[in-house]
């Protein structure tokens, strides 16, 4: 069965420090993975997807099939990064999410 695991409910990081939000998945096929973000009082929105291999707002995520992981990273946290982050996996037309991690950037 497909599954997305985000082990941390809350992650507090000082401004300027590196950020890593963990995501592990369980999927028998070739996965397509995403990170979504929800800022305060805004709609949930796509941050990045692994097939694009892009950096958005300084965030990157690399798919590691050996470790079945898709961790989200940023070298230097900014206060505006405080938000709820969800990892998602697409299986054909079905898209499932992890439980989310709240990132809190400390001043």
């Amino acid at each position: 069965a497909q599954r997305v695991t985000q082990p941390e409910k809350l992650l507090s990081v000082f401004k300027g420090a590196p950020v890593e939000l963990k995501c592990n998945y369980s999927y028998s096929g070739s996965p397509e993975l995403f990170w979504y973000v929800q800022y305060s009082r805004q709609r949930l929105q796509l941050l990045l997807r692994h097939i694009s291999r892009e950096s958005i707002k300084g965030f990157t995520a690399d798919l590691n099939k050996g470790e079945t992981s898709f961790h989200l990273k940023k070298p230097f946290a900014q206060e505006e990064d405080s938000a709820m982050y969800y990892c998602a996996l697409r299986s054909d037309d079905k898209i499932i999410f992890g439980k989310g991690t709240r990132l809190h950037i400390l001043p």
Partner: protein, 111 residues
Amino acid sequence: SQTIHQWPATLVQPVGSPLSLECTVEGTSNPNLYWYRQAAGRGLQLLFYSVGIGQISSEVPQNLSASRPQDRQFILSSKKLLLSDSGFYLCAWSWLGEKLFFGSGTQLSVL
């Protein structure tokens, strides 16, 4: 441009009452449509998704149902609400299962 509308924004219903939440998409044709429930500590739970009119896939057994009477309309229903149905319901659309675009959500409180 494409937009997604979801209503109502908030709803308070007694236990045992019916439910109907509506979601419509504008500016695109034949979108994939999704209903999710967002609950604290449980993340985003996929409830239903649809790839076409009348085609509904159910992910979680429960007393909710979904229907897609028109190409860009997705309805979440219940005949009799339970306390456990309380939560934040999100509608979303995508093109061929790609990037999801979310509605603003409905906060449902069952009392």
